[in-house]
Amino acid sequence: MLTAILVMVGLGLALGIALGYSSLKFKVEGDPLVEKIDAILPQTQCGQCGYPGCRPYATAIANGEADINQCPPGGEPGIKLLADLLGVEPKPLNAEHGEPKPKSVAFIDEQTCIGCTLCIQACPVDAILGAAKQMHTIIAAECTGCELCLAPCPVDCITMVPLAEDIGNWKWRYPVFEIKSEIKAEARA
């Protein structure tokens, strides 16, 4: 009886020490799930989800506080990827948080800009260049199209310009067979 108790206590102690040591030694810094969710989010940093950026939203999803359908820039493909990652059913985008829009960049009308720096402070990715009482301008390549600079502008000199298709970003289309032309051809024959 005593031997058995001693063996169990000894085992318990030994395993406890091993577990305690490994929990300190192999501690995971940060939440790897947050990183994975953050990698899927489009990094627009627009805050339409109700959180002050993509990482806070990712943290909220990981903690189960936010739903996966609150990101309009990510759209349906983003929701699908998040659903795949988290093992849940995809759901339609929550319209409360806005509609997906074509990618745009902000444009400052330099005639109207008064150089107040309010937009510079609002930009989450430092994509606006300028100084107090100096004209501001957008670094288009860095702009995520979050629209956060629109509201603070006191003279409404910022507009969103949708990115036009040009030779540089043109994509081949999905092949579509035109049924209409075939019917016409048959009618002619």
């Binding site: 989450p124 990715v125 430092d126 040009d166 030779i167 970003n169 994509k171 081949w172 067979f177 075939e182």
Partner: protein, 541 residues
Amino acid sequence: MNILAKIFNASNGVHPPEHKLESTNTPIQKVAVPERLVLPLRQHIGNMPKVLVKAGDSVLKGQLLAEANGTVSAAVHAPTSGTVVAIDEQVIPHPSGLPDMCITLKPDGLERWVAHDAVDYHSMDRAELLRRLRQSGIVGLGGATFPTHLKLSPKGAHPVVTLVLNGAECEPFITCDDLLMRERADEIILGAQIIQSLLGTVECFIGIEDNKPEAAAAMREACTRAGFVAKVGIVPTLYPSGDARQLIRLLTGKEVPAHGRSTDIGIQCFNVATAQSVYRFFAHGETAVSRIVTITGNVARPGNYEALLGTSVDDLLKAAGGDLPNTDGYIMGGPMMGFTLPSSAVPMTKAMNCVIASTPGLFPPPAMEMPCIRCAACADVCPVSLQPQDLYWYSKSNNLEKALEYNLLDCIECGCCTYVCPSHIPLVQYYRYAKSESIAQERAQTAADQARVRNDNRLARIEREKQERAQRNALRTAKTDTGNDADKQAAIQAAMERAKAQKEGVTPQNTENLSPAVQAEIAGIDALRGDVPSPAQTTET
């Protein structure tokens, strides 16, 4: 001197009707200088070059109009002397039909050359030669239009020991390289010698398809005349053996690794027309101002025409006797990889090796797409040994991740699979769609990663500034708190002394050195001012 090269196992491919004889009956003809030249700035792969001229400038033939900008870029030169009339967006020969920046030139018809000299490539430093080549505007003329100076300075870990000259020209209808080899073989070989000395290669292969015996004979004779040691490989006529990777395998038996370049196995490949341009540049100082283009199909006089870059397709067709009735479109490049031009008004670019006037008889409209019957005919002909059926399923269902796993990006878009498909499935169009879609996704991912880094940096900066401010505040309060009354008094006293000293030091007005008349005037104004209260006084009241 030349040796007949052994040809290694033929790769897969197809053999569509060649249609080459139509355009090889006549020698290369020159097209007259047209009334207007339109030069797209982006005639190459890479960055848009930087424009150096403005509308209204008069320029000479060969003058630099736009210089290479960034690493992967090529210059644009004036193809003839004349006046720049506009720099704006115009429709360019591109499958999208979208406009791009172009320089429009009105030729004066005098063909006055800018000062240009031969480059002494025997004695000049290699770096200097490459620098000059960078501003020569020479790009790969086989169709890929990759800047040539970059191909001559490979940065791979392996030394490049083998040069492959590509004269295979495997696409149906196209004969511009064939005629060039027949008529200007000596210039090609001299160009190859320059390339060989720049690259430091020790052996040279020349690949020519067996449907061009005259060209092969001309090239052999030119090698003998120049004393150039090259192995001329007569490869079987099978599309797409003119693809650089296929040709390298046929001639050397080596395979370029997936996701790699030919320089990884010590081989660099140049089109014969590119070699000729290199020779023209170094031996005569001539920049890229013209090229040879095959005009064929439903035209009165199919043949090869040497035209200035920027000549419109309409002018080229006119030179070829105009198109015959029933023409329903114009194809740039060959029927396998080419595309329908958005309009016949587009200019000829460095990439344009062929224009085919098409008729419904030559290229019937695509038959209706039927379901895949899993016959594997596409897999049999795929020259890069991919699984076209799997790629088709994944591309069609937008499963890009899976398509990439099946090496979608190794597809060379040769179109053999589409050509043989009994169900008329436009397979290569699906791959093109999936490829451009996955490239766009990758670009979006890069942009997102960049935005994440910028956002993180901004948050870190805000946090740092906050801490610094808190630190400064803490320091200030600490300073005021620690001092006793005597210290404080001393500090106040010192500040007062400083202010006093400053006040005394200031010269009241810098009016000492003025003439007596001006002094008097100032005194008068001061007297007047005495009546008006000063701003300081106003605020006090």
